[in-house]
Symmetry: none
Subunit: 305 residues, 2 copies
DNA sequence: AAGGCGCATCCCAAAAATGGTATGATGGCA
DNA sequence: TGCCATCATACCATTTTTGGGATGCGCCTT
């Protein structure tokens, strides 16, 4: 029993080669050893096993049934070693692996999607998972190690020392309307022009909602009284298409929706000021060692900030 | 490159043990070597690879992504060595081989039993081991190389790329009752007729239970309120014999129980629809080399799908 | 601050694996 | 019969591996 103890890939290769070439000399040559060495190696394995693997003939060697089984398994084991090597090397070079990131919508479109496309192009074997959701959820799941890193706002009630926080970027709000909206063609509109329209905004407490409310407040304008609350993009689009509602969205999202790809008949209002929402950050667990793959994605993301 | 050159089964075992125990000392003990030797061995492998496989913490060692990949492949390679050994030994003793399979109940009766009978008839010396249990357990044990292959459902939380998955078959549920059951003679019954009876079903989360609940839900019928939970066939039979309970079982199992062999006074209800449970598959480790005996059984099983 | 736990390192020795050259042995073939 | 191809053996030198024991170092717990 356990004759496998001593078997190194080299030995297995030899056995496979013997069965392929039927000549000890060729087999030995092909893996760079001398014929006597090969002979002895084979003999040792056979005595360990207690049975001959090849029967010798003046024309060469051919396998016994046991030898056949041995070679069959040896091939499989060797291929296991090969995939082990290639996977480990791939991981070492960061060409392979798995990255999980979470993000809020704005940067997901602006940074994450292009970054992922870049990475995938260079290393298609990297497996990426992107989840999009509110900051609080992203942070919570980061803590539970669901993500390598996230792009999100930093909730106040978290100890920021537990995280490693990378450069911030502020988000700008665009006001989206359908292109038949009365104000769509105006070269410039002010907040005062807007308060009498219907608005479709995310729920109270969301960053964009807060930014909008703050903008109206500092301007001294009455906050719009007709507001539909939803964080569902689908609902927003439905309302936008069929009414003159105004929907504030992250600039990146608005650009995507008004761009050529979607073909929707939407446009943004030219507001006379910028409305900024609280900035978002790249957040990761302090001290966590990122995988190479995650590092590469992180670099790609940061270069787009 | 080719760091695998020196790797003997011993080394692979050590790596696997380290990842299992998280303690170098325990790992070393379990394979009969001293802690310093293990430390050095690990260090050597790591420098060969050029990357750490485990990160050290005061509580022990846990694997890096590369380490995980290494261990995963190591397990597979080790299982290759094991089957190599066992097949070679078997052949050396003049035996035909050994097959170990796992299965969930339905196909065990439908496919596996006839297949084994066929194989045994042709080659009585083949030693077969069949274990029956829930899919999750079967898959877990397949990963640990306890089985040559299994017939089971594919749990969602496993990376299906790690396995080789062969054709699927859906299971149909039969509703079993005793032959004196009020509905036994009906030529056709509907779900609505059934919700007022006692049911004996497997625990929540089991595939059959889910299928039943889904059937009632889509039908808009109240789910039976009197349910006895058990996965024990014995208990089920006991209840069936002594009460008007309805027991849903895989069709194959029900057919066997209502067949002439058992002589039990049970029958199946003629439900007006088919209730399907999620399909099962033949699952094996990707790249694993089956023994001849296992191959033959697999062929016999597949021909019965 | 002390003690415990867990891994790393150093030193040393024994064993084994490796490998090469020269040479022997055997069966087939001309 | 004599030669050739093929594997086996003997002998020798070297390298690699393996292992044990003692000890150092870092971190957490008490």
């Amino acid at each position: 029993m356990d004759f496998a103890r001593k078997l190194k890939p080299h030995h297995l290769k030899l056995m496979v080669k013997i069965s392929e070439t039927a000549k000890l000399q060729f087999a030995a040559d092909s893996i760079g050893m001398s014929q006597p060495a090969a002979s002895r190696t084979l003999a040792e394995i056979e005595t360990d096993i207690g049975a001959p693997l090849f029967i010798r003939s003046p024309k060469g060697m051919y396998p016994t049934p046991i030898g056949e089984a041995f070679v069959r398994h040896a091939q499989s084991i060797l291929s296991g070693f090969e995939t082990l090597e290639s996977e480990v090397e791939g991981l070492g070079r960061g060409e392979m692996g798995e990255v999980k990131v979470g993000s809020v919508t704005g940067p997901a479109i602006r940074c994450l999607v292009p970054a992922i496309l870049e990475i995938k192009k260079a290393s298609p074997d990297i497996e990426t998972t992107i989840e999009v959701g509110p900051s609080t959820e992203m942070v919570r799941r980061l803590e539970q190690a669901h993500f390598d890193f996230i792009i999100a706002r930093l909730p106040h009630d978290y100890d920021s020392r537990a995280f490693h926080i990378l450069p911030a970027r502020s988000e700008v709000v665009s006001l989206l309307v359908r292109d038949t909206h009365p104000l769509a063609q105006e070269s410039q509109v002010s907040l005062d022009d807007l308060s009498c329209y219907d608005w479709t905004i995310q729920e109270r407490g969301s960053p964009i909602r807060s930014a909008i409310e703050e903008a109206f407040a500092t301007n001294g304008t009455k906050i719009p009284s007709h507001i539909t609350n939803t964080s569902s993009l689908v609902v927003m689009l439905g309302l936008l298409e069929r009414s003159n509602t105004i929907a504030p969205l992250a600039e990146e999202v608005a650009n995507m929706l008004t761009g050529p790809a979607t073909g929707a008949n939407l446009c943004t209002l030219n507001l006379d000021r910028k409305i900024m929402v609280s900035p978002y950050f790249v957040i990761m667990e302090r001290g966590k060692q990122l995988s190479r793959a995650a590092e590469r994605l992180l670099d790609a993301v940061l270069s787009r900030f």
